[in-house]
């Protein structure tokens, strides 16, 4: 018979810890792979249509794109602060920071809606050309992820107000936070790729 020891399995030692639930990380990884395919498709499609992509890219609103990067980065930062607050049992700061993160997401959506309205108003659609097909589908796919992230933040906010998250257990909060950071991470690649690189 083998003896059962108290030695934790490698990678599960307290100092090596994956925040949140394991399942959310597999979900995040799947989402990231989907976006990786999307990003690579854009880049390789561009290689065949450099002039068209460079010309069409000029019509995008870089200021709006950069402002949205700032909003997502700041929204992510607030949610990190919410997790940190839970870890030090600061029950009031948890929902407050989640709400601030949510507001940053809402700001992102507002900016994006204005951007879409300007493009659609100018008669641009998915069928205008390959660049706009990618621009609209990529950013809209990401847009839906921002909305899902905000739904998750809403659930976290209600839970946090009940005082669910503490240094004892913040798994749910950490899982939702990880998803929200993924939305930020994807935009960090998307913005330079679609709006700036030429």
């Amino acid at each position: 018979m083998t003896t059962v020891t108290d030695t934790p399995a490698p990678g599960n030692t307290p100092d090596k810890r994956l925040p949140g639930d394991l399942a959310i990380w597999f979900f995040i990884l799947a989402e990231m792979l989907a976006f990786a395919v999307f990003f690579a498709s854009y880049a390789f499609a561009r290689a065949n249509n450099v002039e068209l992509f460079n010309l069409s890219q000029q019509t995008l609103n870089r200021d709006a794109g950069a402002l949205n990067t700032v909003l997502l980065i700041t929204g992510s930062w607030f949610v990190v602060l919410a997790v940190q607050a839970a870890h030090r049992n600061d029950q009031r700061a948890v929902p407050r920071n989640i709400a601030l993160g949510f507001l940053c997401g809402a700001g992102f959506l507002v900016v994006k809606v204005f951007e879409y309205a300007a493009k659609f108003g100018a008669g641009i659609s998915m069928s205008t050309n390959t660049f706009y097909m990618f621009y609209i589908s990529l950013t809209f796919f990401h847009f839906m992820h921002v909305i899902l992230g905000m739904v998750i933040l809403t659930i976290l906010w209600f839970q946090a107000r009940k005082g669910v998250y503490s240094s004892h257990d913040a798994h749910g909060l950490e899982s939702g936070a990880a998803y929200w950071h993924m939305v930020d991470l994807l935009w960090i690649i998307l913005f330079p790729l679609v709006y700036v690189m030429r």
Binding site: L18, L33, F39, R62, A177, M182, I188, I189, P192
Partner: protein, 88 residues
């Protein structure tokens, strides 16, 4: 200065500075190999900060760090390859 001891605050400030650099490169109409490499490098550094300091994977099991950071390397390499092809 005390605030900078929190890695999240530090990451947030670096991310904002990096974003403004990318925005500025767009404003001056930077194009070509050097600017593409610079923007990809900036995006890589930003992505890594989000993974390590926001997602808090700095202290995670090695496999998960490798998976997420590996994704970043994969995406940047594919984009770099496609742009390199386009410059030929």
């Amino acid at each position: 200065m005390n605030a900078l001891k929190n890695s999240a605050h530090r990451a947030w400030i670096i991310l904002l500075v990096a974003t403004s650099i990318t925005w500025y490169l767009g404003e001056v109409g930077a194009a070509g190999t050097l600017s593409i490499v610079a923007m990809l490098a900036i995006a890589f550094v930003k992505g890594r900060l989000v993974i390590l300091d926001f997602m808090e994977l700095r202290g995670a099991p090695l496999m998960w760090r490798l998976l997420l950071e590996g994704w970043l390397i994969l995406v940047s390499s594919l984009i770099l390859l496609a742009y390199w092809i386009s410059l030929k």
